[in-house]
C-alpha cells in the first residue's frame, strides 16, 4: 500500500474512533460537561491527563529542540515532568476535596472575592488561548504535509473535529476521547523510537539505547559530541546556558505546569481525594514513557541527520543523491539548501546558511532542482572549527515527523506518526477549549453576571462559548500571529507567576486573605508580562537581562514577587473570617469529598 493511502487510513480510522466515543459519551448535565460526572477511574484519568498535557509541542517539537541544543534542552524534560510532583503533593488532592469545577471557582470562593475570581478568569483565558493557537497551527501543518491539502484547509478540518466532540461531549466526551488519543499518540511515538534505537544500537529501548555503543566502538553520546565539535557546534552533552538561567527556567516550567488550568481541572474528575493523588501518579507514568524516550529519539535523529546529509566521510552528499524526505520537506518549506561553494553537494555544519536564519523561498528551481532562495548568507565563513560553511536550514519541528523517513522505516510507521501528531494536538486543543468555555459560562455568566440562570442555560452558554472559542482558535491557526513560539513562554510564565502561588497559598496559609491574594496575583502577572513583552516584542537585548535571567525563566521571579507581596499585604490587613478558616481546615482532610458540587 502506498504511504498516502496508509496515512488516510490511519488518520481517518483514528478520527472515526474519536467521534464514535464522543457520541457514546454525550454530556447531559453541567456536571458531566464540566467534570465528566466526577466518576472517572484514576488510570483512565491518568491517560486523559497525559494526552491533555502532551501537546503538539511535546510530540512534534521537543525531540527536535533537544536534538539541536543537547543538554540545554534538559530544562524542558525536567520542567515538564517535575511539575507533576508539585501538582500531586501541593495542589491536586486539596482541590479535589474542595470539589468545585474550575480554578477561578477555587480562587473566588477561597478568597471570597469576585475581583480575585475575575483575575483568575482572565489568567485562565489568556493562558489557554496562547496555547490553543499553537495547537491548531500544528494540526494544520501535519494535515498539509500528509493529506496534501493547504495548511488552512488542514486547520479547518481540525476545527470541525474538535467542534464535534468538545461541544457535544464536554468533559465526559473529552476524557474518553483523550484516553483513545493517548493510546494512539504513545504508540506513534514509541514504535518508531524502538525501530530507530534497534537499527542504530541493537537496543530496543531508546532509554538505554542512547547510552549504547555503536559499530565503531564509540558510544552514541561520545559520537555525537565528536561530530558536533567537528562541525563547529557545542558538544552535545555540554550546556551553554548559565546555571542561574537553567534553574529559573526549570522552576518556571515546573510551577507553570502545576498551574496550567487545563491540567488542574483534570483532577476534579476523579471520585475521591485518594484517587486525585493516584491519578497524578498514573499521569506521570504515562507521560514519562514518552519523555524518557525523547532523549533517545533526539540523539539518534541527530546522528542520522548528520550521517545522511554529510555522508559517511563527513564531506557532504550531492543534492542529486539526497533521499526523498529531504526534497519533500524542502517542498514544505521546512528544509532549505543553498550551495555556497558550488560543488553540488549538501553540507551541514554550525552557522546560518541563510541571512536571518530561515530560507526565504522564491519561485523557480536551481540547476540541481533545489528551491531558489533570496537570502543566502553574504559571507559564508566557516564557524569555529567547522570544516565547511553550513548550507542547510533544517527546521527543528521536523525531527519527529521526518525521523522515520530519514531512517527508512516502513510506510505504516510514518502513517502512524502522522496520526499520533494529530492526536496530540487535538487532545490538547479540546482540553483547552473546554477550560475556556467553562471559565466563560460558569465563572463569568453563572457566578458573576447572572447567578439566576438554570443548569440548562448554563450548559447552553458553555457550548456557545466553546463554539466561539473554536472559531477564534481557528482564526489564529490560519493567521498565526508571528509570535506563537514566543507566547508559549508567556503562558507558562503567567501560570507560574499567578495561578500556582494563589492556589498554594490558599491551601497552605490560613492567614492569606483577599487583599494579599489580589495584590500577589497582580504583582506576579504584571511583572512577568512586562518583562516578557519588553524582551520579546520591544527589542530588549540579552545583555539587559536581570541577573542573566531570560524571559522564559522570569515567571519564577514573578512567582517570588507574588509570594512576597501577598504575605506583606496580608499581614497588614484583617485575617479571613472564621468560616473561611473552617473551609481551609476542611480542604486539608480527605474524608467527605463527595461529588464535585454543582453549585
Amino acid at each position: 500500500m502506498s504511504l498516502d493511502l496508509l496515512t488516510y487510513l490511519f488518520i481517518g480510522g483514528s478520527f472515526a474512533l474519536y467521534i464514535g466515543i464522543a457520541i457514546w459519551a454525550r454530556a447531559g448535565s453541567t456536571q458531566e460537561f464540566y467534570v465528566a460526572g466526577g466518576g472517572v477511574h484514576p488510570i483512565a484519568n491518568g491517560m486523559a491527563t497525559a494526552a491533555d498535557w502532551m501537546s503538539a509541542a511535546s510530540f512534534i517539537s521537543l525531540a527536535g529542540i533537544i536534538s539541536f541544543v543537547g543538554r540545554d534542552g534538559s530544562a524542558y524534560l525536567m520542567g515538564w515532568t517535575g511539575g507533576y510532583v508539585l501538582l500531586a503533593m501541593l495542589l491536586a488532592p486539596y482541590l479535589r476535596k474542595f470539589g468545585k469545577f474550575t480554578v477561578p471557582d477555587f480562587v473566588g470562593d477561597r478568597y471570597y472575592s469576585s475581583t480575585a475570581r475575575m483575575i483568575a478568569v482572565i489568567c485562565t483565558i489568556v493562558i489557554s488561548f496562547t496555547y490553543v493557537a499553537g495547537q491548531m497551527r500544528g494540526v494544520g501543518i501535519v494535515f498539509s504535509r500528509y493529506l496534501h491539502v493547504d495548511v488552512n484547509t488542514g486547520v479547518l478540518i481540525g476545527m470541525a473535529i474538535v467542534f464535534f466532540y468538545a461541544v457535544l461531549g464536554g468533559m465526559k466526551g473529552i476524557t474518553y476521547t483523550q484516553v483513545a488519543q493517548y493510546c494512539v499518540l504513545i504508540l506513534a511515538f514509541t514504535v518508531p523510537a524502538f525501530f530507530l534505537s534497534a537499527q542504530i544500537t541493537g537496543h530496543f529501548l531508546p532509554q538505554t539505547g542512547l547510552g549504547a555503543t555503536l559499530g565503531s566502538g564509540q558510544s552514541v553520546l561520545a559520537t555525537l559530541d565528536q561530530l558536533s565539535v567537528e562541525l563547529g557546534f557545542n558538544a552535545y552533552t555540554d550546556g551553554s546556558k548559565s546555571t542561574v538561567d537553567m534553574v529559573f527556567f526549570t522552576i518556571a516550567l515546573m510551577a507553570g505546569t502545576a498551574g496550567l488550568p487545563h491540567v488542574i481541572v483534570r483532577f476534579f474528575t476523579v471520585p475521591r481525594v485518594k484517587d486525585a493523588r493516584t491519578s497524578a501518579g498514573w499521569a506521570l507514568i504515562f507521560i514519562a514513557i514518552l519523555y524518557t524516550s525523547i532523549p533517545g529519539v533526539a540523539g539518534f535523529g541527530r546522528v542520522n541527520l548528520i550521517n545522511t546529509v554529510n555522508g559517511p566521510d563527513n564531506t557532504g552528499t550531492s543534492y542529486a543523491e539526497m533521499p526523498g524526505w529531504f526534497k519533500n520537506w524542502e517542498n514544505s518549506g521546512l528544509i532549505g539548501w543553498y550551495d555556497h561553494n558550488g560543488d553540488g553537494k549538501v553540507q551541514y555544519a554550525a552557522g546560518n546558511a541563510f541571512e536571518g536564519g530561515k530560507p526565504n523561498f522564491i519561485d523557480g528551481t536551481g540547476e540541481q532542482g533545489q528551491r531558489m532562495v533570496s537570502n543566502p548568507t553574504l559571507a559564508p565563513a566557516p564557524v569555529k572549527a567547522a570544516p565547511f560553511a553550513n548550507e542547510v536550514y533544517v527546521d527543528r519541528d521536523i525531527m519527529v515527523l521526518a525521523n522515520p523517513e530519514i531512517a527508512n522505516l516502513p510506510a505504516w510507521v510514518i502513517a502512524l506518526v502522522a496520526a499520533g501528531a494529530v492526536a496530540a494536538a487535538l487532545s490538547t486543543a479540546a482540553g483547552l477549549l473546554l477550560v475556556i468555555s467553562t471559565a466563560i459560562s460558569h465563572d463569568m455568566m453563572k457566578k458573576t453576571i447572572n447567578p439566576n440562570i438554570t443548569d440548562k442555560q448554563e450548559l447552553m452558554y458553555a457550548r456557545l462559548a466553546a463554539i466561539v472559542a473554536i472559531c477564534i482558535a481557528g482564526y489564529f491557526g490560519i493567521n498565526p500571529p508571528g509570535f506563537v513560539a514566543q507566547v508559549v513562554a508567556l503562558a507558562f510564565g503567567l501560570a507560574c507567576a499567578s495561578v500556582f502561588p494563589v492556589i498554594v497559598m490558599g491551601i497552605f496559609s490560613k492567614r492569606m486573605n483577599t487583599q494579599g491574594a489580589v495584590t500577589g496575583m497582580l504583582v506576579g502577572l504584571v511583572s512577568t508580562m512586562a518583562y516578557i513583552i519588553y524582551f520579546k516584542f520591544m527589542g530588549g537585548s540579552a545583555d539587559q537581562y536581570l541577573f542573566g535571567i531570560s524571559p522564559e525563566g522570569f515567571g519564577t521571579v514573578g512567582m517570588i514577587l507574588n509570594f512576597v507581596s501577598a504575605f506583606a499585604v496580608a499581614s497588614m490587613t484583617p485575617a479571613p473570617s472564621e468560616e473561611i478558616q473552617k473551609i481551609i481546615e476542611d480542604i486539608r482532610i480527605p474524608r467527605g469529598a463527595g461529588g464535585a458540587h454543582a453549585h
Partner: protein
C-alpha cells in the same frame, strides 16, 4: 468532619513533614544533580552516559515517578492512621 481539632492539627503536621521530605529529594534529583552539580557528575560514566547528563535527561524523571507513588503510599497510610480515609 469528625476529627478533633488536635488530631486534625497533628494530621496536617505529619502531612507537611511527608511533603517536605519528598520535595527535598525532588529538588536534589533535579536541580541538584541535573543542574548545579551536572559538570562534576559528568566525570562519572554510567552505562554509557555521563552521569550528570543522564540525571538531567532521564534519571530525574524516573525519580519523579517514584516520588509520587511513594507519596501516594505514605498518604494512604497516614489517612488510615488518623481514620480520615474514604
Amino acid at each position: 468532619m469528625s476529627l478533633s481539632p488536635e488530631k486534625a492539627k497533628a494530621y496536617w503536621r505529619e502531612n507537611l513533614g511527608i511533603i517536605s521530605v519528598y520535595l527535598v529529594i525532588w529538588f536534589v534529583a533535579s536541580y541538584g544533580f541535573g543542574i548545579l552539580l551536572v559538570d562534576q557528575l559528568d566525570a562519572i560514566q554510567f552505562f554509557g552516559f555521563p552521569l550528570g547528563f543522564w540525571f538531567a535527561q532521564q534519571g530525574s524523571i524516573f525519580i519523579f515517578v517514584i516520588l509520587i507513588w511513594a507519596y501516594v503510599y505514605s498518604m494512604n497510610k497516614l489517612d488510615e492512621k488518623y481514620d480520615v480515609h474514604e
